[in-house]
Symmetry: C2
Amino acid sequence: MYDCAIIGGGPAGVSAALNLKLLGKNFIWLSTHAVSHKAALAEKIKNYPGLPDVSGDGLVRALLSHAQAMGINPVEKFVSGVYDTDGSFTLTAGNDNYEARTVILCAGVQSSAGIEGEEGFVGRGVSYCATCDGFLYKGKTIAVLCTDKSFEHEAEYLCDLAGKAYVMPLYADYKIISPNAEVILKKPSRLSGGMRLEKVWFKDDSVSVDGMFILRGALAPSTLVRGLETDGAHVVVDRACRTNIAGIFAAGDCTGRPYQYAKSVGEGNVAAHSVVQFLAENK
Amino acid sequence: MYDCAIIGGGPAGVSAALNLKLLGKNFIWLSTHAVSHKAALAEKIKNYPGLPDVSGDGLVRALLSHAQAMGINPVEKFVSGVYDTDGSFTLTAGNDNYEARTVILCAGVQSSAGIEGEEGFVGRGVSYCATCDGFLYKGKTIAVLCTDKSFEHEAEYLCDLAGKAYVMPLYADYKIISPNAEVILKKPSRLSGGMRLEKVWFKDDSVSVDGMFILRGALAPSTLVRGLETDGAHVVVDRACRTNIAGIFAAGDCTGRPYQYAKSVGEGNVAAHSVVQFLAENK
């Protein structure tokens, strides 16, 4: 049982991890990528105090090397669910489960909103994890929504497993080479089916599928944690970074604008301190 | 008329200034010291993400040089009052006044609480500014509360002006050399008088004075801004760093715990963004 599980490898996650480490807590830090992919893309960051004119990549390297110097590294996992289990939380990530007394959500904000109908088919045709669920669709027909080039190797893996794969890359310079792949340059608008997912709809037409993989950085917070209070795409938190669920905290872009590195590291720090206070009060 | 006046030269103030500059606003940045004296005293800061194992002095230098590289420098002034003047604010600092449409308070939290009776004698014997009011007490008897060694040159200046000065240093390695000075190693507990300040009390005894200078980094927020909602020593703010007074924002230690550099720069960033939004909505 960990004291805390941090979900997200961006600036908020790094800051939370540094502080939990310094505060002597036993935690696991889970991130889809080894480090924030989004931050690394920024060309020039002029307002991260103390690191003038740093590139996105430079900031990410500075944050990671700070964490590594303190012996902390994120574990590369895609967390697909957080479940309240009687005073603690169970996180599912691929075939692994993690138990933690508290959770800090800092997986960023989704640039792509969920698809209409998506939530209803999670576990019934909709999957977020190629390596966890890919084998279920061997030889079958699947859709693969690839939100970012960094997921392309997972898309390729799924194409090779499937009999046929409709791949929808949401970026320009895609390179899908699997002979099983058919690239569709449209964004899915709706999912439909009965007990299981059957069709992926675009504006006017649809494709029939046995399953769909949605490859993106993180789930919408409301999908990840049932019962979490959100306001649009954002998790509602108070000034101590507490959510409406006791023991679950949130920090960084997922809590709302401004989407700023300084705000993220500040909230990661605050959330870590709130976790320590919560643990002391709930022994 | 400035778009904004930032009060405080610590990490929150630097972050607010960087962002207002980048956002193209016309602002003045006022600070008692050229740079946060408190931050510079920290031996080792391990949780400012991206600057591992930085000294307090090193962090302060990094923050200042970041600001300077962007052409921003704090103006060394002690702000003694913020007054609401019909849709904008007037700040008094020594003999100068500044007009601004918005204010960001980030002058830190007072380690020393106010003295009983202090608020009632402001302008009637109690002063916070040696260079502004010192000449009023030429040849007279004054008390000088010196909270920090960095104010010692102001204390010396006052001693030389006065006929007699009771100096109370709140630190160990004081060095008061003026022949007019009598050092008292007790902390004043209460101020009393009629229309003007007459006595400075310690636990059991008192000294009679014509005036008293209280030399510390900043006023308590409730003294600085009348009508500001506070909770103990802290300014009450929402997640956008808005106070109860429209147009006044607060960031950093003054808004409450945890007292952390990362939190301060995060809030300075948020407050600057909130100022820009406020200016757009209140043209």
